[in-house]
């Protein structure tokens, strides 16, 4: 008998799955310059909800790793920190995207083979 999975376990697995994808999404979204709040909105509009408690530490980590550049600028009478993908960030993004496509293709193949096996 298949036991239904409890929601906490599912949430943890979902979180793990999303973690790597969010890095990819943030790097991809920052090919054009944005500040934190607009970045969050952009991701949300594309179906990737991310709370500020996750986004800002992630942005700092990526900047420390040299994948992002940032600068403080005043816009609409308020100082905002704008982020942009760095040259090495662009390179890493390409590599990560290739990796992601490989993973996607592998999972697709496994699922396809198994669905043939069961039919």
């Amino acid at each position: 008998m298949v036991m239904p999975m409890n929601s906490e376990a599912f949430d943890n697995l979902r979180l793990e799955l999303r973690r790597g994808c969010l890095v990819l999404a943030v790097l991809a979204a920052l090919r054009s310059e944005q500040y934190g709040y607009t970045l969050r909105k952009t991701l949300s509009e594309h179906g990737l909800e991310i709370d500020e408690g996750t986004l800002y530490p992630l942005l700092r980590r990526l900047e420390t790793q040299g994948l992002l550049n940032s600068e403080w600028r005043e816009e609409e009478k308020r100082k905002k920190r704008f982020y942009l993908l760095s040259a090495s960030g662009a390179l890493v993004l390409d590599q990560l995207l290739a990796e992601w496509r490989n993973l996607d293709s592998s999972i697709y193949t496994i699922l396809k083979e198994q669905s043939h096996g069961t039919n």
């Binding site: 969050r40 500020e52 408690g53 996750t54 308020r78 920190r81």
Partner: protein
């Protein structure tokens, strides 16, 4: 917007000092941007309740600050299982036996109980607790420091770079009896048997003209008891040497020998077995007081003997229980 300032002040408290102002400026910008967007959509200023709701959605300020902190641990996942294992050895090998001996002494020794509770029972418990706490600090603090240093130096010392699969510990079979320990037991029991038969067979034990010990008549019970036990144990160890895995029947025999040995030892402890001691340069008065002191100390140690005996018996019972499900598989 006092609520926002208060919120950010608590976030600031939990942030690393160097990045504090930078992070607060960014978070503050984010909160105000959200509020402004809502206000534009509604065409009016947000009420305090609505601002409160926005802050609540963002989570407790200390949790928000925590997200910016690096995930640090004093002892990481590589060393933690070893650290926990050493702590367990200390807890079960020292703290628990020390507590059991204390309980044994308090239960069976009126003198010890009187000494401990002459102020109050609370004082007795406090004294036990302070003793255990002192032992805990003496061992656990240096141990933790050592593991923290190891954790910090792990990468620099390349501790896990040089290793050989052949040098990993062998798979432990709890029912296996190391041949080396069986051989040692055979030798030790036979040596004891010969020594006991030669020196302890009468109520008087002489060590040349230097020392002369005399015993109460019950001594012969102990003599024959331990003589038989040493012979039985030697035979059992010899069998274990040939068949180096416990079987239920041999485990039961070991439990029987251990039980009889422990019972005899407990009896010996409170039998006032010494009748007298004479030695060169020892006055008659001193010999009498020495005899009484030894008998007294043996009686005092009687509760400890009971605890040790119970532990030995419990170990033997556990060995049999562990063997029962495996019986009929590959055991000889």
């Amino acid at each position: 917007m006092e609520l926002i300032e208060r919120y950010l002040e608590v976030v600031k408290f939990g942030l690393p000092k160097r990045q504090r102002d930078d992070i607060i400026a960014e978070l503050s910008g984010d909160i105000y941007a959200q509020i402004e967007e809502r206000e534009t959509a509604l065409g009016r200023k947000l009420t305090e309740v609505e601002v409160e709701e926005i802050l609540k959605q963002r989570g407790h300020p200390l949790l928000v600050a925590n997200r910016f902190m690096p995930q640090e641990s004093l002892i990481g996942p590589v060393f933690f299982p070893i650290y926990r294992f050493v702590l367990k050895i200390f807890a079960f090998g020292y703290l628990l036996p020390a507590t059991l001996v204390w309980i044994g002494l308090m239960t069976f020794s009126a003198t010890y109980r009187m000494e401990q509770t002459h102020v109050s029972w609370f004082h007795a418990f406090a004294s036990l607790f302070s003793y255990l706490w002192f032992a805990f600090c003496l061992v656990v603090v240096p141990l933790t420091i050592a593991f923290v240093v190891l954790e910090r130096q792990q990468t620099r010392l390349h501790l896990f770079d040089r290793w050989n699969p052949r040098k990993l510990p062998p798979v432990r079979n709890p029912n296996a009896i190391p041949r080396s320990s069986s051989a040692f037991e055979v030798a030790a029991n036979l040596i004891f048997f010969v020594w006991w038969a030669v020196y302890a067979h009468s109520l008087e034990m002489r060590f040349g003209s230097v020392l002369h010990i005399s015993f109460q008549p019950q001594w012969l019970w102990f003599f024959w008891g331990y003589l038989a036990l040493s012979l039985g144990n030697a035979a059992l160890s010899a069998t274990n040497l040939l068949l180096p895995f416990w079987s239920v029947s041999r485990a039961k025999l070991r439990l029987f020998y251990d039980g009889v040995g422990a019972a005899l030892f407990c009896w010996l402890m409170q039998a006032n077995i010494l009748d007298g001691i004479t030695a060169k340069n020892l006055s008659a008065e001193k010999a009498i007081s020495l005899t009484q002191a030894i008998n007294h100390w043996m009686t005092t140690l009687f509760p400890a003997a009971i605890v040790i005996g119970l532990v030995v018996i419990a170990t033997g019972i556990y060995r049999i229980v562990r063997l029962k499900p495996a019986e009929g598989h590959s055991l000889p």
